[in-house]
């Protein structure tokens, strides 16, 4: 599984804050300059596409935190995105658009759901954990589908984007783009810090050998629960941004297919690397966009591609890049 897992002792040997960080720096610089190039052609399209990439990258980071560093394979992660989005949508339908209210609401809703479901889910392991996270995801999905006053199955249009203290900060597409970029950067730095902290070390140790961690004196369950809630809240953040970007919320945001797509993004990039989550989200969404432009039957190509990745591309794109780099070095 996570062959490329970032071990803190590995990170310790790289003293300079910039060494080994070439990839993320490059990624964020790239994201930063995209709008400048987009101005030359199809600006709205490119901006909206890359905004979507960044939004899902936040959710993918959260999922990598769970899968890559905690061996907690959640098949219901999309629920958190949906909950964050619905917080925005429901408040908007009642005329409340200020981010100062809807963002904390989104975080609180997704965080509480993560807490309540995490308490139950974390008592199970392995495939049972996968199934029970799926079950809770489905529950969220069906609840949203049955909310007739909020669109039910058809979803809910968000008439206007969030404001910030009354100012229409999110309204402009470019502004929204940079807000998402900053959110992604924040989420990334948060995850990096978390992983290297005392908390992160216990959490990662629990992935390697939960038995040993218990006999040292750590109540592994509590650490996993905290991580699960943090991941849930990051998903809620992603949902808040998605509701703004799409100006629409729908139960489909929480479907198990969406949860599966998030898993694919993380694996595509390379689990346990954090960088991989961002790369994977970009690769998945861009591939989907490109292929669906070629044929409406693009899934016939995408499906076998996934099979190929599962069979041969261990460690995802990051893993492949690592192997190439080692081959070039000789």
């Amino acid at each position: 599984m996570a062959e490329a897992a970032l071990s803190a002792s590995e990170a310790k040997t790289r003293r300079s804050p910039f060494a080994g960080n070439a990839l993320p720096i490059a990624i964020f610089l790239l994201f930063a300059v995209v709008p400048l190039f987009a101005a030359f052609r199809a600006e709205a399209y490119v901006l909206s596409l890359v905004t979507r990439v960044m939004i899902f990258a936040i959710a993918a980071l959260a999922l990598d935190l769970l899968i890559g560093y905690g061996a907690l394979v959640s098949f219901g992660h999309a629920a958190f995105i949906g909950l964050g989005a619905y917080a925005v949508g429901i408040l908007a339908s009642h005329g409340i658009n200020d981010a100062l209210i809807s963002l904390p609401a989104a975080l609180a809703l997704s965080g509480l759901f993560a807490l309540a479901t995490g308490i139950v889910c974390l008592r199970t392991k392995g495939v049972y954990f996968i199934m029970i996270t799926l079950a809770f995801g489905q529950m969220a999905y069906f609840t949203a589908s049955s909310l007739a006053p909020y669109g039910g199955d058809d979803g809910l249009t968000v008439r206007m984007r969030s404001t910030f203290a009354g100012l229409p900060v999110f309204a402009n597409d470019r502004a929204l783009y940079y807000i998402c970029l900053i959110a992604l950067l924040g989420a990334y730095l948060l995850c990096r810090t978390l992983v290297a902290s005392r908390f992160g070390r216990v959490y990662r140790g629990a992935r390697e050998n939960p038995l040993r961690m218990g006999t040292i004196g750590f109540d592994v369950y509590r650490f996993q629960l905290v991580a699960y809630v943090i991941a849930g809240m990051l998903g809620g953040l992603s949902g808040f941004l998605l509701a703004n970007a799409a100006e629409f919320v729908s139960p489909a945001y929480m479907s198990w297919q969406r949860s599966g797509e998030l898993l694919i993004m993380v694996i595509f990039g390379g689990i346990g690397t954090l960088n991989g989550a961002i790369v994977g989200a970009a690769a998945f969404l861009l591939a989907e966009e490109w292929l669906s432009g070629i044929t409406k039957h693009w899934k016939v190509i995408f499906g076998p591609l996934l099979v190929f990745v599962a069979l041969f591309a261990r460690g995802g794109l990051i893993g492949v890049a690592e192997r190439l780099r080692r081959m070039i070095r000789g």
């Binding site: 029970i132 039957h297 016939v300 499906g303 591609l305």
Partner: protein, 330 residues
């Protein structure tokens, strides 16, 4: 991605639509109980193969749902060629088995040693590929399969209760298969090996059994059961791309509640879920009306009904984190 809006709701709605709407609630209760049994039996046919493959080979096969779908499509195709339901049934079973074995040989057998995550990704890819594939071959609109003339009527079970013969055939054949499986698993040598394999596959292999061949037999059999389920349900439901997706989730809920690797568990859990889901959907509003006003009951009722089985799974897993009858030792 496959549409999440149809599926369970449609399955239940279609099953409900067939029955006449009697005024008396006991009549409705009896009819819905039979419908619940029918759903349960159907779920068992699918879950049996799933739990065996999971129990013996430790392989999460998300693509099991498309085997079910393929059975239905092949039956429609062969019926178009032969005009005879029985011929179509036999040919479709054979073709489903052949295709399943092909998949096993080409893709699945390379995944038995892998992470569950890799298996999820690969089989998810197969779902995408086949869902799109049937769309290309047969178009996206739903197809239908007529049931055999002499079994297409209704029969009077009790004064005032008319019940479709075909549904009784499904219940009967499902119970028959269950009995057959029970006899095979507990009274034949192969069955004993399968049970042993579900408890400890490494040990069975170490004893010199040709584990490859055992796996193939288990897989092939499971595939045929799923295909059989698809063929039998085709005359009642519409045959369309993605029909396997929601039934797959239900089947996973069944095997998780029943305990992975246990056919007995799958049988019990399938019947429970079939009954809970069907009766829940029919009577949720009425039951809730005992506790609350009609208007909120009508919104909350269907929502709770769709979540019911997931709530059930969560409760079971909370109390028994490995299901009711786990095959592997506790």
């Amino acid at each position: 991605m496959p549409s999440p809006t149809r599926g369970e709701g449609a399955v239940a709605a279609a099953l409900l639509a067939e029955t006449s709407t009697p005024v008396m609630s006991t009549t409705l209760l009896i009819v819905q109980t039979l419908n619940g049994l029918q759903l349960g039996v159907l779920l068992f046919l699918i879950a049996a193969g799933l739990t065996l493959v999971f129990g013996v080979m430790d392989f999460i096969n998300l693509a099991h749902g498309v085997q079910y779908m393929l059975g239905a499509y092949l039956a429609v195709m062969f019926y178009g060629l032969t005009g005879n339901f029985l011929f179509a049934l036999i040919l479709a079973l054979g073709a489903t088995l052949a295709f399943g074995l092909l998949l096993e040989f080409a893709v699945f057998r390379h995944l038995y040693d892998r992470d569950h995550l890799d298996q999820v990704i690969a089989t998810f890819g197969i779902i995408l590929f086949l869902n799109q594939g049937v769309k290309i071959l047969w178009g996206a609109s739903p197809l239908s399969l007529p049931m055999p003339e002499m079994l297409s009527g209704s029969v009077v079970l009790m004064p005032g209760i008319l019940y479709p013969v075909w549904r009784l055939v499904i219940i009967g054949s499902g119970l028959g298969v269950a009995l057959l499986l029970y006899l095979l698993v507990s009274h034949t040598r192969v069955g004993m090996l399968v049970r042993a394999g579900a408890t400890n596959a490494a040990m069975v292999s170490a004893l010199g059994v040709n584990i490859r061949r055992l796996f193939m037999i288990v897989f092939g059999f499971g595939t045929m059961l799923a295909g059989f389920a698809g063929i039998m349900i085709a005359p009642i439901l519409s045959v369309e791309p993605g029909m396997g997706d929601t039934i797959l989730i239900l089947a996973f809920v069944v095997i998780v509640i029943g305990g992975i690797g246990s056919i007995r568990g799958a049988f019990l859990a399938a019947l429970i879920i079939g009954l809970v889901d069907t009766l829940g959907r029919s009577f949720s509003v009425d039951i809730l009306r005992l506790f609350m006003a009609p208007s909120p009951a009508r919104t909350v009722g269907p929502a709770i009904a769709s979540m019911l089985i997931y709530l059930l799974m969560a409760v079971v897993l909370y109390v028994r984190p490995a299901g009711l009858f786990p095959a592997k030792g506790r």
